[in-house]
Symmetry: C2
Subunit: 696 residues, 2 copies
């Protein structure tokens, strides 16, 4: 008998779990053993698909084992340091400690495990050394001339210098064109003068800029003979390599605590006319000679742009992993947490809360989205690597398509992960609100991704722009060719599917294509009609919400189709069966979810009738029933270690309550109070006692 | 000329702002003066409506002035303490410091200003002394017998004892019935033995329980002669009033850092067979005599339930204020933050970002929701006070209706505020992610409200249950009588409104009623049909998502209708005109918003046609245009002081960038580093230097 939402109110044991569940006395651990045993597939085999190969799994497992040993996090009965009594400076110290170990392991064993697979030690924005590996080195490699490459890259690769990437300013975020920092060429000294001309041009936000980096790639306006030649990259040494004091004329500092990433010193920099040699302009694509002659390679922007996609490419995968982390914790806790009573009958049920429909629905739908994100990224990897190879040979033809994919998927994946992680946290009730659940840090990290590397609402508009340009072109771009079959007409053919036909991938694909096409045509018509009275940008501004709806629909269609392709290409197996159900669940709940964005658009024009809608809901129900026994295996498969989840309620063994109390008793505030006889002495003497003794 | 999204790309000045904007040299302050001057109404008059009267405004202003003077927060050029280098224990100390001042002011001047109007110093969950005033004292007053009242209440009111309210347990949250803590009567000693029988029954989460309270109202199962008589309230002294050490047999402690409210010591308690006198059972509604005879007043549950609604009642208002705080910050920053270029034309625009449609749309729609919440609460206040008076006279007839309103509005308002505050934060880009923006703390506080005092998904189901019972009753309850006109039929009359008729309150009301009725009937039919094969609770579980959709629609209908009533009853004035537009905006964007929950339900059955949908969008567009000049006044009107917003980017004068740098330079980490020559010494020596000098 399977874990079910139907009549049975308690877990029953499948035969292979019988032994463990029988000998285990801890109630929560018992429930976990039982739940895990119900899987219809081997979660370790799915891990190999997720990470790419058996070897990749081994590399990851080894790397985490080494890291956790050095950091001392493998004994999960001990309260993790990040939850003890840390202030701003101590959080940064802890970030440096973990970052150093992580970077050294990555360099020594030459792997990129820590780029994606954890939120705590990710060599990206979460680590002061992450910026060096994730942003500084790739930019350096991409933008250096051969001589510069030879000089700087070995220094960076051996950690002789530590870098930051310095683009955003106090008054200028996503929009590179707004940068005000100047790099003025002075011919007589053959130098650039890097300057912060206004308050709003203070460099602000770059990771590792506060105290960690010795060098920074500074994006600034190149000014030659009073002429603004646009934004270029300059290598600026910001600290002395001897004593690490800021170089003359440079003010550096930290910008304060953030919602997450407090292990990293996001910083600010003010440049007071700082001089650097002319040769410090990174000059692979543009060069200035000592006489002030400027030359750039053709298609410089395209090359730069191609390189900049790397950050988004990594983020899209990272979003899937972060969402999966939150879901792993929430699913495990939902399996061991019993909830009292039926709201309808009031009767005592003591069911694990995963069996309540709201929890069941929310968890499984989010699990389907995490997989949709992962498989979409896998296809993107192929397409992106192909583009990089082509660009190296001077072929930029696939850049626009990849650029748009990255924009759209960056927005979709980070929004999905951010909302999903927060919902996973809420599904854990009050305990999800405690730092020791691990969830606040995940939620706060992932929500940042919606803002940086291209704010999502700006990303959506890039996709809208592509769609509008595509419609205006003589031939539709390949990625839009599906729209031909769905031209707007006043009386379109309604969808003919019924009942379980809605599980068919063809039907799903056609529904998503239809809707994306309709919205795109509609947006285009609105734009055209607004243009009769408004300027180009005012017309755009007026119809922005519809344009974004079209972009979103196009991206959701892409995600669905790619998910279908990827899963369909797997060999027949129980894993493929389960993943196919996840495809259907993702598709159908995007159509009908009470929280999905703009699902109206599937239904206007009566393309789907009310009867079909209820049939769709019936199918969703069946899928949820079928997938429930696999919930634990589907989250186990992501292969997170207990130490990297860092969650008292989300560990593999399910032993949530004991671990919560174990950790809580180790908190400094409790340990210190115990030494003082159980009293928080300073608070009592200064604030509580005066209240008790006062005459109020 | 007004602030507009149309052709003009910069602010123009209205005549009365001319003076200020002319003499001001700071660019951001100038923009703020200009934006503020464009209001079509006097924001101070709206403040009086929001707070209830001119007197209420004066009381609030005075209270905040006293508080901020004592706390030293009135000089806004100084970095607020909460953003400096605080660890867990220091955050709690700061909470005690602020809490003491706040409670003393409330007691001395007898006002409830700090219950709602701030998130930082709210005398509720945000303050260790807040639990005493917000939960402990009301419970005490409600549940004490006259003798107990005379003994305990004066002690509590004069701060001679400090209380906590101890209900939730490690394994039991919202569901009171699950409580495991026991209070066993021992006749020979005339005592109760309070005991924690299992790990999962550890009291967990109560505010002030860690170190602040001396006494706790402990909810426990009354056991008499081996018989379980259900949950009752017991007064337990948990600390010595002499040295504040925990009483014998009681283990107390803090549960660790949370996403917010770290000024409060949410705690845990383990009771090892702790003895209290029999007379410590709070016995207004149930009594146990020394022979173990138990008696309860009739309708005990109803009385208790009525009293428990107070928490939700306060939260619903608090949600409106917290959302308004986030929006005040986001609106002000959006007015002074310029953004570079049009994504369509690439041309440089330097428009304040509030003029970009996405920002404009999101801000104004959320502003309409904050007002909808506020006015709905005002109506609730009348209905709630009436119920309390009736209950005192033994008339419980309005309890069910008020209970359901509280459930539904608690879920709606906290969900709206939580999602809205997070979106407001995202609208501030990267800076919204910094603690000094004030937004993370607001977002993290408000999101907690979705979980505590009744988890929202549970609250929705209470409403669903009411709706299903209502349909089954002989006569529809008054609150559901609107459904009569919208009985399900296979071919319902489509909505007849066109164009600007969608602004009509009657049309809006009818659309919301139609949808709520349809969903309710649909849910009821599904439930009936499931009952042919399933048990009551399994049928409920199966159809839970549809049941919740119905509940949500019913509550959204209630909010719309109440908002309409309240605004319509205001005297004719520019303020009423603006608020009326907000009503329409709230209504229409709930219908069509790309992010609103289940807006499909307005469109199934082709009740609204695609052409009407685009007409609705046109109307939304007009409303947004008309409301834009009032955006600042609509947020100013909530009357938040700069110190209570605690935001470097959201102060009244608009001087965002200067204040960010001013505060950032005062961070401990920067001040300390400066003393060390600009180096973060400990990090450099332990982690950075070893990397630089190592051979990697």
């Amino acid at each position: 008998m399977k874990l079910t939402t139907k009549e049975s109110s308690t877990y029953s044991r499948s035969s292979d779990a019988h032994e463990d569940a029988k000998t285990e006395t801890n109630e929560q651990k018992k429930m976990m053993v039982t739940a895990r045993a119900q899987a219809t597939f081997n979660s370790k085999s799915l891990t190999e698909i997720i990470l790419g190969s058996k070897e990749a799994v081994a590399i990851q497992d080894d790397a985490f084992a080494r890291l956790e040993k050095i950091l001392g996090t493998s004994d999960t009965s001990r309260l993790p340091r990040c939850y003890s009594n840390m202030n701003h400076e101590e959080a940064f110290l802890e970030g440096l400690r973990a970052g150093k170990v992580t970077m050294e392991d990555s360099f020594k064993y030459r792997h990129d495990v820590f780029l994606y697979s954890t939120h705590l030690w990710a060599l990206g924005n979460a680590s002061p050394f992450g910026i060096h590996t994730f942003l500084f080195m790739p930019s350096l490699k991409q933008q250096s001339s051969p001589e510069q490459y030879k000089f700087w890259v070995p220094l960076a690769e051996s950690g002789k210098i530590l870098g930051a990437y310095c683009q955003t300013e106090l008054g200028h975020g996503t929009h590179v064109g707004g940068i005000e920092t100047t790099a003025t060429f002075e011919m007589q000294t053959d130098e650039f003068i890097i300057n912060t001309p206004t308050l709003s041009s203070t460099k602000f936000w770059p990771g590792a800029l506060g105290f960690t980096c010795s060098h920074a790639i500074v994006m600034a306006r190149l000014i030659v003979r009073g002429k603004d030649l646009g934004i270029h990259a300059f290598m600026v040494q910001v600290r002395s390599l001897v004593d690490y004091k800021p170089m003359k004329g440079i003010e550096l500092g930290d910008i304060g605590m953030k919602m997450a990433y407090n292990g990293t010193d996001n910083g600010f920099a003010v440049f007071h006319k700082v001089r650097i040699p002319r040769t410090n302009m990174l000059s692979r694509y543009a060069n200035l000679d000592q006489d002030g002659n400027y030359a750039r390679v053709p298609l410089r922007e395209k090359m730069l742009y191609g390189g900049m996609l790397n950050g988004r490419f990594i983020m899209i995968r990272h979003a899937a992993f972060q969402l999966a982390q939150a879901l792993t914790i929430a699913t495990r806790y939902s399996v061991v947490r019993e909830q009292g009573h039926s709201p309808f009958t009031g009767e005592k049920t003591e069911m694990p809360i995963i069996q309540f429909k709201t929890q069941h629905y929310r968890l499984l739908v989010l699990i389907s989205k995490a997989y949709a994100n992962l498989f979409t990224w896998k296809a993107l990897e192929t397409s992106y690597k192909d583009m990089v190879e082509r660009q190296a040979k001077g072929d930029h033809s696939t850049l626009p398509h990849n650029h748009i994919l990255m924009c759209g998927l960056k927005a979709w994946s980070t929004e999905t992960a951010s909302n999903g992680a927060e919902d996973a946290r809420k599904m854990c009730g009050g305990h999800g609100y405690l730092f020791i659940s691990g969830l606040p840090e995940i939620v706060s990290s992932v929500t940042a991704m919606a803002t940086f590397e291209g704010e999502n609402w700006v990303m959506w508009q890039q996709v809208s722009l592509y769609l509008m340009k595509g419609l205006a072109a003589k031939d539709l771009p390949t990625a839009m060719s599906y729209m031909v079959d769905h031209r707007l007409c006043s009386n379109p053919l309604p969808c003919a599917a019924r009942g379980s036909e809605f599980l068919s991938f063809n039907v799903l694909q056609s529904l998503f294509e239809h809707r994306a096409a309709q919205l795109t045509f509609e947006a285009s018509e609105l734009l055209t009609s607004s243009r009769t009275t408004l300027s180009k940008s005012a017309a755009w501004n007026k119809n922005m919400m519809t344009l974004i709806a079209a972009a979103r629909a196009h991206v959701e269609k892409h995600v669905l189709c790619t998910f279908i392709d990827q899963v369909s290409s797997l060999p027949t197996s129980p894993i493929r069966d389960v993943l196919s159900k996840l495809v259907s669940l993702y598709g159908l709940t995007t159509l009908t979810s009470p929280t999905s964005a703009d699902s109206i658009s599937f239904f206007v024009h009566n393309h789907i009738s009310p009867i079909q809608l209820s049939e769709i809901r019936e199918q969703v129900d069946h899928l949820l029933e079928e997938l429930l026994p696999d919930a634990i295996a589907l989250t186990d498969a992501w292969n997170f270690t207990d130490a990297s989840l860092c969650s008292a309620i989300g560990m593999r063994d399910g032993n949530a309550y004991e671990r919560v109390m174990e950790w809580v008793r180790q908190l400094d505030i409790n340990v210190n109070a115990e030494k003082a006889g159980g009293v928080f002495r300073e608070g009592f003497e200064n604030y509580i006692e005066p209240v008790l003794r006062a005459k109020l």
